[in-house]
Structure formats: C-alpha cells, structure tokens
C-alpha cells in the first residue's frame, strides 16, 4: 500500500468516525424522544405509574439523559457496549449470535447476487437498447417497486407450501450439510438477492454504458477483440470504481434493511433485534445495532473507495 493510499484510508477513517459519532448521538437522543421507555414497555398494558417508576429507578432510568449517555460512551470506550435494560444480559452476548446470523445471510446473498448482478448489468450494458435490455429494465424496476414482503410471501407460498421443495422458515439449526444449507437459505437468499440485484443491475448498467462509450472500447472492437474479452478485459477494469461503489451501497443495507425478510422467514438476525429493541426501548441494544450498521456502511463505502483508488493507481502506475 502506497503512502497516498494509506493517507486516504486514514482520512476516510477519520471522517467515518465523525459520522459514527453523529449517528450514536442522534440515535441516543431520538430514542429518548420516543414515547415511553423500557419500564413502560416491560410492564405493558399492566403498567401503573408507581410500578413503572420503581422499575425505572432500578434500571437507573431516572438519571438525567446526558449522564446515561456519558455512561454508555464511557463503557463503549472500554469496549463494553453495556447490558440490555430488558434482559440484563450483556449486549455483546445478545448481539453476537444475531450478528453471526445476519452475516451468514448477507454473505450468502452477496455471493449469489454480486456475480449475477455483474453479469446481468454487463449484459444489459452490452446489449443496450435491445429487447433483452428493455425487458431487464422493466423487470428490475418491477422487482424494486413491488413490496419485498409480497415477493417473499409469494415465493414461500409457491415453493414451500405448494411444491414443498424448501422449508417455509429458515432454521439454521437444521443445517448439517451443504445440501441442507442451500435448501434452508434458498428462499431468503433468492428473495433478498433479487431485490438487491435489481438495484445493482441498474447502477452497474449505467456505469458500464459510461465506459462502453469510451473511445478505447471502440478501438478494441476495431482491433477484432471478441466481445467477452472487451467486456472483461477492457471495460470492467475501468468501471471498477463506480461499480464497487454501487455494490457497496446495495450491500450496506443487507444487515439492517432486511427486517421484512427476517420477519417472514423467521430468521433471527440483527434487523429484527433492532426493531424489537426499538419497540421495547432497549436503548443499549439500539445503540449497538445502529453502531454496527453505521460501521458496515462506512466500511463498505470506504472499501469501495479504496478499490476504486487502487484500480486507478494501478492504471496510473503509482
């Protein structure tokens, strides 16, 4: 890694930290602004003011807001995200299995969607304004615009209920072989991938069309270079920057933006945990989830920037 690259990474990390701080502060105080707190939520319909107050006291929720925030920050600086107000268990312990699940789902989706999206995006750009391209455009727009829960529900109803090919729920415990892994993840991954891919295909198509209009692509055609080689050898290396950015943006929502998918497949991931925690006002968990999502987003976009920069540097020979 050259010094320039190192400086860029350092600067990116610096700005990322700023965003992180903003997110953490904003989330904390906005959660505090939500009606009711964890004491109310715990007691639910049976809450009486006295009971809620007592509980609040035992959870230290009667301390001033800023003091609680300071406590949380202090803990975070020591690498301790605190304990859940609701269960009293360490946040890290509650987050770990969910994070693992989410990463598994996101990973599987990435493995499926990125190559396919690249392929289809390239194909659309290559055969721009052909029937294939038009059909893909309508299809991708359609997939993006139809609510995800409907796609997932229809898919489950058809493949799990009617044809009984795959299970309706995604229970990780039932995985003991590759075959089972594929069956278990088939539905959520294909649903999620189709939505993610639709976005990526549109963006990749736009990037590639840009590159395809470059004179060196026409030059390659005039040299008699086969189309596949043109796409892979000539066009792709020049589109890595924007394509990587497009992919990073799409992937960054795979952790936190998949509530619907997790709900429908009853898949215990981070997104569900976060929504639960918002509903229950379990602030330390909300904070940690937000932090994770923010980190993921920043990590991916920074990675994309570095990939872009490195690809340019290679070309520029620096």
């Amino acid at each position: 890694m050259s010094a320039g690259l190192a400086r860029l990474v350092a600067r990116r990390i610096g700005t990322a930290l700023c965003s992180l701080v903003f997110v953490v502060v904003a989330i904390f105080f906005m959660t505090a602004a939500l009606p009711g707190d964890v004491a109310d939520m715990l007691l639910g319909q049976n809450a009486t003011p006295a009971a809620a107050q007592a509980l609040r006291h035992s959870l230290h929720l009667d301390q001033p807001l800023w003091l609680r925030f300071m406590h949380w920050c202090a803990g975070m600086l020591h690498g301790d995200p605190g304990t859940s107000l609701l269960t009293g268990r360490p946040v890290s312990e509650m987050l770990a299995p969910r994070l693992y699940n989410s990463l598994l789902l996101a990973g599987a989706t990435t493995v499926v969607s990125v190559p396919l999206a690249l392929l289809l995006g390239l194909a659309c750009a290559t055969w721009r304004d052909t029937h294939f391209d038009r059909v893909m455009t309508v299809l991708t727009l359609g997939v993006v615009s139809v609510p995800a829960f409907l796609i997932a529900t229809v898919a489950v109803f058809v493949f799990a209920v009617q044809f009984r090919i795959v299970p309706a729920l995604s229970d990780i415990r039932s995985i003991h072989s590759v075959g089972q892994f594929i069956l278990t993840f088939a539905m959520p991954v294909s649903t999620l991938a189709s939505i993610t891919m639709a976005q990526m295909i549109r963006m990749i198509r736009a990037c590639m069309i840009d590159v395809f209009s470059a004179p060196y692509i026409e030059m390659a055609v005039l040299k008699g270079v086969p189309p596949i080689r043109i796409v892979l050898h000539h066009a792709l290396p020049n589109a890595i920057g924007p394509v990587a950015n497009a992919i990073a943006l799409s992937l960054s929502s795979l952790l936190g933006g998949v509530v619907v998918i997790e709900t429908i497949f009853n898949y215990p991931g981070l997104a569900q945990l976060m929504v639960d925690s918002v509903m229950l006002r379990d602030v330390p968990i909300i904070q940690s989830c937000a932090l994770l999502f923010c980190l993921t987003y920043l990590f991916l976009t920074t990675l994309a920037d570095i990939v872009a920069l490195a690809s340019v540097r290679k070309g520029r020979g620096a």
């Binding site: 997110v23 904003a26 615009s145 609510p147 918002v278 993921t296 976009t301």
Partner: protein, 268 residues
C-alpha cells in the same frame, strides 16, 4: 432541428404521465362508488363481479373505491416527499460545492449518518420527533431520502462546477448564489430525473412500511403499499385485492421511471 422537435415531446410525455396520475389522485375518488370505509359485502376477498367490479377486500369493502383513494394518497405523499428530498438534497449538494470546506464536511458526515441508519429505524425516530401528521410523514420520508439525492447531485454539481461556463460566470464576477441557482442547477435536470424516479419508488415502499407500523395514512384511507399489505392474506385465494394494487404500484412506478429514463437519456 431534430433536437427541437423531440425534446418537448419527451417532456410532454413526462407531463402527460404525471398529469394522468395527478388527475387520478385529485379526482379519482369522485368516481368511487362507495366510501373507503364502507363494508358492502359479507364476503371478503370477493372476486370481480357485477356488484363490485374489482372485488372486495379483507373486510368486504369495495376494492375499486379503496384503490382510487390509495392512488390519491400514494401519489400525493410520494410526490411531495420525493420533491422535498430531492429539493433538499440537490440544494445542499449544489450549495456545498460553493461553500467553505467545513460545511461540506459537516453536511457530508450528516448525510452519511442518515444513510447508514436503516430507513425504517430512521422513520420511527424522525416521526417520534415530528409527530405523525401527513406533513410530518412527508417530511420524514423527505429526510430519509435526502442523502441519496445529496450524493447524486453533489457528484453532478462538482462535475458541472468544473465546466468552462462556470469559469466564465466567475470571471464575470457573479455571486455564488447566482452561480448555484442559475448556472449549475438548470444543467443538472436531465441526469437527476432518473434518480428522482428511483427515489419515488423507495418512497412508495417506505410509505407502506410506515403504515404497517401505524405511522402512515390514517384509516379508513390507505396508500397503495398498505392496500397490498392489508390484503396479503388474500394471496392464498388468488384475490384481486392483493394482485390489483400490486399491479397498480408496478404500473405507476415503472411507468414513471421509464418515461423519466427516456427523458434523462435524451438530455444527457
């Protein structure tokens, strides 16, 4: 000359499509044979029939009537919130090309922050802060999609700011505001249109998710996404009530995007 002829026709097509949906949004409910909350049949998820042309929903209400109201709210709210987010995002994106670097830094970090929080969580929090009136709904959705518009427009504005005609304006001694408002903005229209279309789709989807959390349009009115959601059980009966709103969403969003794409492509 060809340019002159084809340009308005594309714009006209955008106008016609938007006009169609807007007219439908404004006056569609006048065509509704029933009130949106009126239960007209004990049969739920009724198929298309003589009495109710588009069947009934999960409570036995007239789907056609509800659909007309749903179009009204989806089109209006999503149009407004898309306009708001694009307006803010574009203004900010363009403005930061001409302001001191720290402004851009602050705005950029802010936008990164909003972008990195899942939109649903963001919506929950913003609505908690703003309340849940229709106006708040529009604002919330606007805020959520502002960073996307900001990113796109800033990239565009930076490109345009390097153009020679901006240099010319600067050499003339034009003020920053004039340069942003009159020189840069008008040239971003084409490329931004495609972006606006996508944001409109996201707004339609987010609106239905908000309704699900109890934050959207108040009953008995609905938006299109919620119409699909509340009738999703009808899927097992192949009910019109779930299929038709889905088709309407697809036609609305895909149509608008295709026309915007075509216009954008022509201009750029």
């Amino acid at each position: 000359m060809k340019v002159r002829v084809s340009l308005p026709s594309a714009t006209q097509r955008v106008g016609m499509l938007f006009g169609f949906w807007l007219v439908l949004a404004m006056f569609g409910p006048l065509l509704a044979p029933y009130a949106p909350g009126q239960i007209i049949d004990t049969q739920v998820f009724a198929p298309i029939s003589h009495q109710h042309w588009l069947g009934t929903d999960y409570l036995g209400r007239d789907l056609g009537s509800r659909l007309l109201y749903a179009v009204r709210y989806t089109v209006l709210i999503c149009t407004l919130s898309t306009a708001f987010s694009c307006g803010c995002g574009i203004l900010l994106g363009v403005a930061t090309t001409a302001t001191p670097a720290w402004v851009e830094q602050v705005a950029g970090r802010l936008m990164d922050g909003i972008l990195s929080i899942p939109s649903l969580l963001c919506a929950l929090l913003v609505i908690a802060a703003f309340g849940d009136s229709l106006m708040a709904l529009v604002l919330t959705m606007g805020v959520i999609y502002t960073p996307g518009a900001y990113r796109t427009s800033r990239a565009l504005a930076l490109r345009i700011a390097r153009m020679d005609y901006i240099t010319v304006a600067m050499a003339r001694g034009e003020g920053r505001l004039f340069i942003i408002w009159r020189e840069i903005l008008p040239n971003m229209r084409g490329p931004l249109l495609a972006d606006v279309g996508l944001r409109f789709i996201y707004a339609v989807l987010l609106l239905s998710n908000l309704s699900f959390l109890g934050l959207g349009v108040q009953p008995p009115l609905v938006d299109l996404g919620s119409l699909v959601r509340e009738n999703v059980l009808g899927l097992v009966y192949g009910a019109v009530a779930v299929v038709l709103p889905t088709i309407v969403i697809a036609v609305l969003t895909v149509g608008i995007n295709l026309v915007l794409d075509a216009t954008a492509g022509r201009r750029s």
